[in-house]
Symmetry: D2
Subunit: 235 residues, 4 copies
Amino acid sequence: MQKSDIIFSCVTYPRSAKENVIGNCGVAGREGDILDGKGYVEMTGIDPQTSKDICEIIKSKGGRYLEAQIQGSKIEADEGSLVILTAGDKSLFIDCQSCFKAMGKTAFFLGDTGYATKTNLILQLMKGIALVGLAEGLALADRCGISSKDVLNIFKLTNLNCDYLTNKADLIVKKDFKHVEQAIEHMQKDMKLTLDLSDQLKQPLLMTSTANEVYKHARRLGYDGHDASCIYMRT
Amino acid sequence: MQKSDIIFSCVTYPRSAKENVIGNCGVAGREGDILDGKGYVEMTGIDPQTSKDICEIIKSKGGRYLEAQIQGSKIEADEGSLVILTAGDKSLFIDCQSCFKAMGKTAFFLGDTGYATKTNLILQLMKGIALVGLAEGLALADRCGISSKDVLNIFKLTNLNCDYLTNKADLIVKKDFKHVEQAIEHMQKDMKLTLDLSDQLKQPLLMTSTANEVYKHARRLGYDGHDASCIYMRT
Amino acid sequence: MQKSDIIFSCVTYPRSAKENVIGNCGVAGREGDILDGKGYVEMTGIDPQTSKDICEIIKSKGGRYLEAQIQGSKIEADEGSLVILTAGDKSLFIDCQSCFKAMGKTAFFLGDTGYATKTNLILQLMKGIALVGLAEGLALADRCGISSKDVLNIFKLTNLNCDYLTNKADLIVKKDFKHVEQAIEHMQKDMKLTLDLSDQLKQPLLMTSTANEVYKHARRLGYDGHDASCIYMRT
Amino acid sequence: MQKSDIIFSCVTYPRSAKENVIGNCGVAGREGDILDGKGYVEMTGIDPQTSKDICEIIKSKGGRYLEAQIQGSKIEADEGSLVILTAGDKSLFIDCQSCFKAMGKTAFFLGDTGYATKTNLILQLMKGIALVGLAEGLALADRCGISSKDVLNIFKLTNLNCDYLTNKADLIVKKDFKHVEQAIEHMQKDMKLTLDLSDQLKQPLLMTSTANEVYKHARRLGYDGHDASCIYMRT
């Protein structure tokens, strides 16, 4: 910390992200830590409240905070086509431009802390639901004696064709769930964070809550560590 | 009927499709009707059982039957990029080639009567679920104070970007549900037919059944005749 | 039929009930069958439309029709405490009084054909949902390391205590699903008939549709012929 | 605190319950607070984790902790027929006997801290689901032109008859949702706490999550402060 001007944090869960900042060994955990204008960029997929909590701590130590949420999986990372959603300190966003350009095709600055995490969860919600729909359809096809592969070939010609669902359908056709683009526990975490957000807003999310139970069920059956598309196995 | 060699049927509901064939004025309703090799192509979005029933009648009169289900909406129709899924009598499929080419970019022959209707319902299921997910996400965005338009702009850069969802999101952003690509009652009909199919197979379809209730709710609120994306208004 | 003045029909599915009346060997299937004031009481658990169809046929042959739906299972049958819901021909209802009294504690006449079947489905919906709730709760208890038996003992002291749920909880505690009070396929049939009814009315039934998928899932896992409480095994 | 030997805490939300203990004015918030064997009984409807957190603090100050969860609403309170579920310090449970007897008909001691809160949530889950089922059925009845009152009269003769559902049905028949037995926000809180618990255990709770969305929807429509049975208005 003494030497870096900008710290990028990227762990697995909101709790760990927060502990990285608060904890005894955290960047702002010890008394007298003065961040003095240094930047802290949180890239962990987190909820708005955790992000605001981290933001407050960083700012109280004189640091600058930016939440930067990544849209895209390993495939987009390899292609350099990740989309980066940021919010918080705009000067820090500008300072990070070169880094963001190396990572993704576009970086958005969306305003006050919380807007990037919210927007990210909204997009994850859409993906999470569409994926369960894909798996449910392919499971029905299988039950009808229609091969997933044939459905996928037709699917690619329809107007629902997109990289996200095609990649997932490929994994389902091959039943290759150990090829992890996004682990099911991370997908379920995003569904849960979105539901927690909706709870505070009293916003009903029928499909998200049902999708969440489907992901939970697959995790219950022991699929942690597999790609989220493994829900196909339980539908 | 005396003059046509191939009849194309395209009405709104399975019941009407069947009545067109069975009813007093139907092609095969009167005694002594001999179809004698003539072709009957059912393009109405129907369920496998209705299709098999129609097939049986047509064949019993000496006719040839083909179920031809259309993937795509008005937009694809205008662009000539509809996908046509067929099953039944292969010789009739071949006889229809020129017609199908005029309508769409690709026509598939999938085997015995029932396979095209099933495959079509499976693809509709995926669309129907993804659409409710899109609407649920945009409703949450709105509730968070994030404009649908901003979400749509980011959405277009993600790997879930596809014509189907982008077109629907456009309608939601404009709240232009009278611009009907697919009427909500047709979408809900497809969900219902898929659920009926799954019932016979004892195949659970959690997301489809929840999506069906969402479409029903919007219909209950008086949205018949509007585009299916109008579910945004009830989420 | 020649000798009986009142026929009581009680089979398993709506389709069989209708075939009993329409089919070649059915009471009204042959030409010239004149029922001439005789009574036909349909006790099969059926949907309103099937009941109306049967009613029409019986009446067209000069017969009188009454739908009589049974609330209660084997336990209530043994205790003579079944509740009988009827609708249709009131004179036939009166003629059946002695029979109904032998079977149950109360028989209601609810009006035109359809009202008894609808009321029965509504009560089945409530039971079907409450039962999935019970099973879901007991499954969570088990997962928490709390025995079903302990929960049941406390449950009996709460204001949700009732014979229906207590009997079902007993079966779950004993995992004695071969002791069939109501077979899962009949319960799922009732959920499906209720959903079909709601579809015609565009009435959303979120919980019923989710419960239906749970029952379907258990059937898919091979539990046909077991008591409906066997859903505990899949939750 | 100086004078009381046992403190009973009963507020609305887990957060407030915890703050009562931790906060600046809380019983254990100030340094040097020595509880020295005094008892702290948490009667707020809370989740197991919050209860364990409170327990830890109380014990660290030398106090004894008991979670005591109440099954029953105002009606049972008036009748003295509440059921009290407790867990934690058994000596404190014994010391509270006279108090508990004044409040309810039975008090259970269920073991280590957490077991009473879990058991309570499990019973709440069952009630919460059964109530949505009741409302869904009565809404369907209304849509069918069958009066809620008639259904209720028949319901009372079935084996699902119980005080909980009958009381709720009474409120629905009268549309008297300002007569609050249990406010909808408390019911939804219990659903949410149960879902959070299930999330940690990866235990799918399909019906609970759907019920939770129904309660959320009613809250969204402005029904906070009304009895939970007001969900009838949104079904």
